[in-house]
Structure formats: C-alpha cells, structure tokens
C-alpha cells in the first residue's frame, strides 16, 4: 500500500466471473497522476475487452476540500468516444476505502451480476433476483441483505437493462454526472449494481502537514465566495438563467454536502410531506435529492412545476434514465405535468432519445458544450460559480478555463462542480497537497500532462 493509494486495480473478467487484483506501481501514478487520466490508461490497456473503468484520484477520500469524486471512464454509446463521468456524494470515497483505486470491468457477463466490493475483497454475485427492479429497490435490497445502510450502491434501472442510449447510472437513489449513457454500457455487460463498503485506510507521507494544509484551505474557502450561498438551485440563477431558486424553494428541506466538501450543493426537496418537518416520519419516500442543477433547470424550461419536477426526477432516477433526455422528450411532446407520464413511464422509455438538453442558454459558451462532448460531463455548469477566477470573459477563454478546471478535478478526485467555485484550489495547492500526502515527486507539469492526456 502506498501513500494516498492502495496500489491495487481490480480487474473483473465478467465473461469468466473471475476477479484479479493488479498491483499498480508508483511509476503509474507518476505518469498518470490518477483519476480519469489513470482510468484512461487502464481503459487503453484492456481496450480489446470493451472495458469500463471506475477510478479514484489520489486526493479522493482525503480531507482536501471537495475530494469526493470518483470517475467512470468508458466508450460512450452516445458519442462513440471515450468519455468520463464523475460520481460524488460518498461513492468515490467509499470506492477508495474498499481498497481498490480502480475497477476495470471487462467483457460481458452471461447473466445478471452484481459486484460486492469490501475491504479489498471483490465478490461477484448472481443478480437475477435484482434484474427488473428499479435503482431504489436495488439499493434497499443490497443494503438490507448485506446488513449495512452506509453501503454505496452504483446501479442501473430499467433503461440500462433494456440497453437504451438514454440510460444513466445512479448512485444509491440519486443521479450522478453520467451524461454518456454509461447505464447502457453496464446494462449490456449485465452488471446490475456495484455495492461498495470500505473500512480501509490509506497512508499519508506527512500526515500532520497534510491535515493542517487541508484544514487551512477549508477555512479559507468557507470564508470566501461560497459563504453566502447554499444548494445547487442557486447555480442557474447565478448564471443568469433566472428564477429557479424561488420556483423550487418552497419545497426545499435541506442542503447536503458530499464528502469533505465545504459547499452543501445537493438539495433535498420534499413533496410527499411538509418540508418543515425535520425528524424522520413514517413517510418512506418524502422527496428527492437534487444532485443535478442542469436537470432541474431543464425541467423548469420544459414547463413543469417544482413539485412535478421533483417527482419526475425521482421517476427518472428509479428507472435509470437521463433526466435531461426526459426533459427533452417532454418538451418535444408538449407534456408539462408529472401525471401525464407517471402511469406507464416504462412504456415511454424507448421513445426517449439519447440527446439530452444542453439546458444552459446560448449565451453561455457553447464551446464548453463542444469541449464537454469530447470528454467531460455537462453535469458541471459552464461558467464560474460565485467566484472570480480572473479568467477572461471571451467564449474561447471561458471554454479553455472550464476544460482546465474539469481536467484538474477529474485527474485528482476533486468534485468538478466544486472546482468552479473555489479559486483557492489551483495547480499549486493541488501539488502541495499531493506532495504532503504522497511520496511521489509530482509537479504542475505532471498535472498538465495528465490533463492533456484527456483533452489533447
């Protein structure tokens, strides 16, 4: 075990139902740093086996601000290109703590399976009994049968099982930054779910320095640009999309941060219970955690009410279908209510196309979308959030800035959304943390190289 890493990649041969553990040398991290760049190297190594790679950055799961992100890398059925999608909340962290830095799923399983990763053990189990259940039921079922409510469950719903291009991956009950149809990829591999629980630890080269450095950075960021804001429902308003917050706010119950993040981005809305009720009641599913500001905006633009938006996002997540694609479908069909589609939603799935809305207005640089379509997820808004990054305001400059910020986030394991609101995090601060945390002699040039591997 190295510092900040387990030095282990799990290779899952789905056709054979076998797992092997591949030792990752320090040289690999020196060359690729980690995260999406390392994922890409593993993807290329196993390219003949049609792989999809789940990975973590060196900082994922540490106290570094925003260090919550894992990254999925694979060939997108939507673009035909290798793309990367982040997953945050506690998913990236839990993957790291299982004792695997990376999971490579290669080949295709003959029947439905789920993976149970825990304490550097990987078990492949039959998932016939889970096939046909929605993402919420899978999460519940695995947590119950494995005996721990903190298990993080990456899963697909009906859309993924049917191999639809609009299929998303869910983390527990909620959507992640999958804009690439990775739900379809897992569905075709017959992988219903990956359950993660890690009780492991990893070492730090200079723990006292690392913790002190992260603590100071947290303090600085908390008192900075984000201090006056809460929740991702502020993003559209801040970016000039107008009035999303007042529209959805009557339903807002609380805001919740991902692991180690100073900004409580995820916003829980209640629509089956009074939002002012703080204690847990008998209402089993009182609402939905908004993890995707673009999806909320898209639903609003499609003409739905706040309450119907919450309900439809829940329905989409249960079925593992991309909510931007659902919004596009509703808009095209002129549907503006949840009740018009809630009955027989399964039947609608095949009619939902693979193109989601790019919900941000045209004046927001389309170059970002262009760039995103090559590599990164548009889950990340296209402009700085709340903070002044001193980036020039032109379209190309903003696109380059956006790509650079995403690249750094995807490589190191920082949430890419948080990267847009914390100018305190830059190449130097990342390197300083990496140097305190690891024995690797990393430099800004190494970061440049890793990011360049992703975006050319």
């Amino acid at each position: 075990m190295g510092n900040l890493t387990s030095n282990i990649a799990l290779i899952v041969d789905l056709a054979a139902g076998k797992v092997t553990q591949e030792e990752i040398e320090d040289d690999f991290y020196a060359e690729h740093v980690g995260g999406a760049s390392a994922n890409l190297a593993l993807y290329n190594k196993y390219i003949d086996d049609d792989p999809v790679v789940f990975g973590t950055g060196l900082l994922t799961g540490t106290l570094f601000p925003g260090a919550a992100s894992g990254v999925i890398t694979g060939k997108s059925p939507k673009t035909g290109k290798v793309c990367h999608g982040p997953f945050c909340l506690y998913g990236g962290t839990e993957l790291k703590y299982t004792g695997f830095d990376f999971i490579v799923l290669k080949g295709h399983s003959a029947g439905p399976v789920y993976l149970w990763l825990h304490d550097q053990v990987a078990d492949v189990h039959d998932a016939s009994g889970l096939w046909g259940t929605d993402t919420w039921a899978v999460t519940e079922s695995l947590r119950k049968s494995l005996g721990e409510d903190l298990i993080q469950v990456i899963s697909i719903g009906e859309a993924g099982e049917k191999g639809l291009a609009c299929a998303d991956i869910a983390l527990n009950y909620w959507p992640i930054g999958d804009r690439w149809g990775f739900g379809q990829v897992l569905g075709k591999k017959n992988v219903k779910a990956i359950a993660l629980r890690g009780l492991g630890i990893f070492d730090l080269a200079r723990p006292a320095e690392f913790v002190e450095y992260c603590r100071n950075l947290h303090v600085k960021i908390r008192s900075g640009a984000i201090s006056q804001h809460r929740g991702n429902i502020e993003f559209p308003d801040y970016l000039g999309e107008g009035q999303v917050k007042p529209w959805i706010e009557p339903l807002v119950h609380r805001c919740k941060a991902c692991f180690a993040c100073p900004y409580p981005c995820n916003t829980f809305v209640k629509y089956r219970e009074d939002r002012s009720i703080m204690k847990e009641t008998d209402v089993q599913e009182p609402g939905f955690l908004l993890t995707d500001a673009a999806a909320v905006l898209a639903m609003k633009k499609a003409g739905l009410s706040g309450e119907d938006t919450g309900k439809l996002l829940e329905l989409s997540s249960r079925h593992g279908v991309n909510s931007l694609a659902v919004a596009a479908h509703l808009q095209a069909e002129g549907i503006t209510t949840y009740s018009a589609v809630s009955e027989g939603f399964s039947g609608l799935l095949e009619g939902i196309g693979d193109d989601g809305i790019f919900p941000w207005s045209p004046e927001i640089p389309e170059a970002c979308a262009e760039s995103a379509q090559q590599t990164f997820s548009t889950w990340t808004p296209p402009k700085p959030l709340f903070a002044d990054f001193k980036a020039a305001g032109g379209v190309e400059e903003t696109a380059a800035w956006w790509t650079r910020r995403n690249g750094l986030a995807y490589v190191t394991g920082i949430c890419p959304i948080f990267m847009l609101m914390a100018p305190e995090i830059n190449e130097e601060s990342l390197i300083e943390a990496l140097v305190h945390g690891s024995d690797l002699d990393l430099t800004v040039q190494d970061l440049d190289k890793a990011v360049a591997a992703l975006v050319g």
Partner: protein
C-alpha cells in the same frame, strides 16, 4: 524471539463463562513470541487436554458460569494439572473462581483460601453507575468499589521485577486480603484520574488500598497466580511484562518440543487454499461490516449474568481481522479442512448478524440471536487464533532449525 526466551506450552480458557477478555492474553502471548497456544473449552479441560500443557490462562467472564461449565470434574482436573507442575494464571473472573467461596458450584474450586475484601454482608450505597457496582451476580454480596484504572505496587518478588508501581485496569476483579495462604505479589496502592469510584471514595479507599491485587500460591509442583486487575490488558505493557515472566517461568522440562501442525494433513493446492482463504477474508469482512453497523444502535443483551453490547461483537471480529494478513504470508499453513471449518462458522456468524440487523430495523427482539451469536463468535475466534498460532509456531520452528543447521 531471542534464544533465551523460554517457550511454554500454553492454553487459554475460552469455554462457558469466558467473556471477551481472553483475547488480551492472545495479544500478549503473540507479542512475547509465545506461539504454542491451544484454546480450551470446559470439555477440553474435563477431557484431560491440559496434560500436555504447561499453563492455563483464564481471563474475565462470569465466575458462576465458569464454575458451572467446568464442574467438579473440571476442578479436579485443574488441581491435578497444577499439582503436577502446571501453572494457572487467572484474572478477574479467572481469579474469583479459585478463591474461597461458600457459594454453590464456585465452592468446588476453593483452591486458594484467600478472602475477598469486596465481599460484604451488607452492600454499600452505589454511585456513578449502580449497574457496574452491583453486577447481577448470583451472590449479591460482591461489590465493585472502583472501576477502570488503579495503581498497584509490587512487593519485590523475583517474578515481578520492574517498576515498583504501575497502573492496571480493574473491571470488577477481586480485592484480596493478604494472608499466609498465598504470597502477595502486588498490592493496590492508589488511584488515578481515570479511576471511577462506584461507591463513596472513602469506603473505596478503605476496601481497596493496601489489599492484594496479585497473589500466588504453590500447589504441589505447580503454581496458581491470581490477578484482580487485568494485567494482560494490551494497553498496560508494564503489567503485561509480569504475565510474560510468569508464562516463561511455566515452561517445564520437555518444553520446546512443541506441537507442530498435524503431519497427516494433506497439503492443499496453492490455488485451492488461496481461494478458501480469500473466501474466509471475505466472510470476516462481511461480519465486521454488519457488526460496525450495529454499533450505531443502542443495544444490549443480558446473557447469563453479563450484559453484552455491540462493541463486544467487534472485539472478537477485530481480534481475528487484524491477523488476516498472516493467512497470506509465505510458508503459511495450508490446511483446507481447518479453514473450511472456520469459514463455515464465520458464515453462520454473518448470517446471525444480518438477521439481527434486520430485526433491529424492524423493531424486533434480538436476544435469542445474541445468545446464539456470542458462543459462535468465541468458538470461531478460538479456532481461527489456534490456526494462526500453529502457522506462527511452524514458521518459528523452521527458522530455528535453519539457524541451527550448519549447512
């Protein structure tokens, strides 16, 4: 372990009445390089298995259950073993068992006729947690004046050389009245900031201080060592050294020709044993994950005369888990049958824990599951640790053989 360290054929009691503290002896022995360790339950003791051992270590638990489990036959076996040159070292309940008592069953074991000072006719008023002050013993006249850390001072016997005064944890063990019946090795000499007074402090001082914390008594060719506090507790290494010295002194003639793993065991294929060991690791992890989940609930189970809580589940599982890496070391043991038996038992434990978690979530009663679980945990941990020690012993003996061979 250096050449001067004496190797002792040891046994640890893990049968009826034993709680979880016997794993502290395990940690101590492993640190001391004493790997010839067997784990005996009441059937083993009664079945004369002590005869090829030099010492028996009995830690905390429920004295009455210990006595009931071992019974008259067990008491006679202990006497026979000690008189024949064996050493008995008991702490807490393991000490009470051998002390003078008029109570039924326990009076079968009056091998050391030393009085218990915290035995009174009338119980004093309790403070700071009556439950710990008056455990639900069948004899309601034992009380615990203090709990947690106390100071003890050695009285200068050779076996206990070291600092004059050390701290040790006291979790309900006896305060013994010095007498000519036994030699006093250490007396209670003070309290620390961590001492919790369960009765009035003045009374506690009167009952505890200057009385014996550790004694020894010869019986035939053997020796009985009794400790009120847990000298074997892993956080008290000065106290551990006392136990280590006693363990080393217990080695008898013939020691060193220690038991090797059964040579009749068929070696397993490397792939076969690897698969089994990985399955075992997976199952330990499965159990541990649920055990940690259960720690978030306020649960307690009155079993016998003791109260068990979720951290005690984890105590056993952690004792096993931190030794899992040794399973995968080079030159490890490759006994598939033993691993399969441990795996089978661990699967049962995982099943019980998962059922318990479901029941707790549904608001159901889990006592019946806990009653089944704890004996299983004890047995599984004992079997695993025995396997672990067999491997360590084999490696140690191979090393020694290599060093002694000229070529």
């Amino acid at each position: 372990m250096n050449d001067r360290t004496r190797k002792t054929r040891l046994s640890i009691y893990v049968g009826k009445g034993a709680s979880h503290s016997w794993t502290w002896f395990v940690d101590l022995l492993e640190r001391a390089g004493q790997y010839d360790v067997r784990f005996f339950d009441e059937h083993d003791v009664r079945g004369r298995k002590l005869l090829d051992r030099d010492a028996l270590l009995v830690a905390g638990g429920d004295t009455f259950d210990l006595a009931e489990g071992l019974g008259e036959a067990g008491s006679k076996e202990l006497e026979h073993f000690i008189a024949g040159g064996g050493y008995y070292a008991g702490s807490c309940a393991g000490a009470y068992l051998m002390l003078k008592s008029s109570k039924e069953l326990v009076n079968l074991f009056n091998h050391v006729r030393v009085k218990i000072r915290n035995h009174v006719n009338e119980l004093p008023p309790a403070q700071n947690g009556a439950a710990k002050s008056y455990p639900r013993y069948r004899c309601a006249d034992i009380f615990h004046p203090v709990r947690d850390e106390v100071k003890v001072t050695f009285t200068g016997l050779d076996a206990c050389q070291g600092p004059a005064e050390i701290t040790v944890p006291l979790f309900g063990g006896p305060v013994m009245v010095p007498s000519g019946e036994a030699s006093t090795l250490a007396t209670y000499s003070g309290f620390t900031r961590k001492t919790i007074f369960l009765v009035n402090e003045e009374l506690a001082r009167d009952v505890v201080l200057t009385n014996a914390a550790a004694i020894r008594k010869g019986l035939g060719d053997g020796m009985i060592y009794l400790f009120g506090p847990h000298f074997e507790h892993p956080r008290y290494q000065a106290a551990n050294r006392v136990v280590t010295r006693i363990v080393e002194a217990a080695a008898r003639n013939g020691a060193g020709a220690a038991r090797l793993p059964d040579p009749s065991t068929e070696p397993a294929s490397s792939a076969g044993i690897d698969k089994l060991l990985m399955a075992l690791k997976s199952e330990f992890s499965n159990s541990r994950i649920v055990a940690i989940a259960l720690q978030r609930y306020r649960l307690s189970w009155p079993i016998g005369l003791k109260t068990y809580e979720p951290p005690k589940i984890l105590h056993f599982l952690d004792a096993v888990w931190r030794r899992v890496p040794s399973l995968f070391e080079k030159n490890r043991l490759q006994d598939c049958r033993k691993v399969e038996r441990i795996l089978h038992r661990t699967r049962k434990i995982t099943g019980l824990l998962r059922s318990m978690k479901l029941q707790v979530d549904d608001g159901g009663d889990t006592l019946h599951l806990a009653e089944e679980l704890f004996p299983e945990l004890r047995k599984m941990a004992a079997r695993f640790l025995e396997y672990h020690f067999e491997g360590k012993l084999a490696a140690q003996q191979a090393d020694e053989h290599r060093w002694r061979s000229p070529f």
